[in-house]
Amino acid sequence: MRALAWHGKHDVRVDTVDDPEIINPRDCIIKVTATAICGSDLHLYDGYIPTMQAGDVLGHEFMGEVVEVGAKSTLKKGQKVVVPFTIACGSCYHCGKHQYSACDNGLPADNQDIAQELYGQPMSGLFGYSHMTGGYAGGQAEYVRVPFSDVGPIVIPNGVEDEKVLFLSDILPTGWQAAENAGIEPGDTVAVWGCGPVGLFSVQSAFLMGAERVIAIDHFPHRLELARKFGAETINFEQTETYEALMEMTGGIGPDAVIDAVGLEAHGFFVDNVIDQIKASTFLGTDRTHSIRQAIIACRKGGRVSMPAVYGGFVDKFPLGAFMEKGLTLKTGQTHVQHYMPALLNAIMDGKIDTTFLISHRMALEDAPKGYKMFHDNQNEVTKVVLKPDFAAA
């Protein structure tokens, strides 16, 4: 099959690799019909994520048609499914509590060592995202082996366009969980740092949860424009002092809840955290790396901090004093995708959530390397690249 493989920093290629096969009884194989490049894929592209190996197949936002099933899969050939990016077993203690991204069994036993050492306990597996998260081949490919197919993939009704439901795989549930973690109460003002896909879905979700005002913060004019379309007020942090603006816009109180949806772009997994630390210690650090710090300082007393943004290592100058003195609450974590998928599919079908606005580019899988470069170089206009294996290459 053809698949987008990582070969090194800024070097991704569409290679011919072996077709996947059923290995475990709960597996299925899907033929990918649509897959997206995620903002977090750019950190693989930029070479920031450790434990990558040349030839690793990328992609964790994908959907397709079931073409093969293992003996214990509950899916049927021909069904259209969206696959959650978190690989979770559905049988362990954490899955029982719907904490799917904390699944005990999604990672192969040997791959659990790194996270065990780094985080204390290993997390679930992820598709196409380094060997630390399992080394699973991802969805930017013609076919994918999907483990635990009886609990992960959600079946999509016939006749629904791929583009409407594709983002159930990651960014829509992630934006929704971020808003849920912000504990929004009716009448709240919510500030969202970052108007990437997760931030934009957080804006929509916050309104659906009863927020009266949402203030979106970014520096890309096009992305701020998208946030405005959903009813958010905006702050361009390149033109405006963010803390001051937030205080003035909330009558000196500060937002009731703050959502940091910036993540890896600013902070990175390991390497750029180290760079951040070096920069800070040599006074080269920039404010751009400070979304979570700024969010905590701006948040009102007794307010709530939600952090969907991905952090991997250690963060310098975390304002622990402000966090404690103001009595803030922080909720965070990788998304429990499986928990949110059914309700969010209904919300899409009922027209309560718009997903397709995000897609700025549609390309053939064969053109994926071009897609990575475009997304990397122009984040203002390129909001989402969707790859389709059956598109003819440009």
Partner: protein
């Protein structure tokens, strides 16, 4: 000749309430390793699977196979470097149904060893399974090779084996990222 593992804990003067297998700063050569894992299944089910030693190879990476000789005795075939194997007979020296199994290698084993696994009910969380392995550093050329293999992060090996046991019991399969059967076979070799 290895000591019976059940008397072994008494040698360690207790300094706190941590299990005697926990790494302590006074330890020199560690020849006693142990790991605990919580498995979301009833103790009786876990005990029954483990007690049939023929099942051990399904989650213990270094164990090629265990042949059951009779109710107490078994023959172990364990992977050694260079595609070779080492073998020994072992005897169950003590067992309490649904609670614990203790075994010991018979005289003449290349790597005299003993092990104990306990199953403790953990209510809604399932069962806490604790495995403890003790071995004597062997002599001779092959012994040195085997010792090296056993000493290669034995605690990590034990932890990985217990994770696989947990995966098999909770999910019915052992997780793998392989995407072709050939890759999977190479992983298992």
């Amino acid at each position: 000749m290895t000591e019976d593992i059940s008397t072994r804990d008494d040698r360690v003067e207790p300094r706190d309430d941590a299990p005697p297998t926990t790494r302590k700063d006074l330890d020199g050569d560690r020849e006693l390793i142990g790991r605990a894992v919580t498995i979301n299944r009833p103790a009786a089910e876990l005990y029954a699977y483990f007690r049939d030693f023929a099942n051990l190879a399904s989650f213990m990476e270094n164990v090629e196979r265990v042949d059951v000789i009779d109710a107490r005795r078994s023959h172990w075939v364990v992977k050694a470097p260079g595609g070779k194997t080492v073998e020994w007979d072992a005897t169950v020296t003590d067992e309490v149904e649904n609670e614990s199994i203790t075994w010991q290698s018979d005289d003449g084993a290349d790597v005299p060893n003993s092990g104990r696994v306990t199953f403790k009910d953990a209510g809604a969380r399932g069962t806490i399974v604790t495995a403890t392995i003790a071995y004597d550093p062997p002599g001779g050329t092959i012994g040195r090779i085997i010792a090296k293999m056993f000493q290669r992060e034995p605690a990590i090996q034990a932890r990985r084996d217990l994770r696989r046991f947990k995966q098999l019991m909770e999910t019915g399969e052992v997780a793998t990222a392989a995407w072709t059967r050939k890759q999977h076979e190479e992983e298992m070799a």
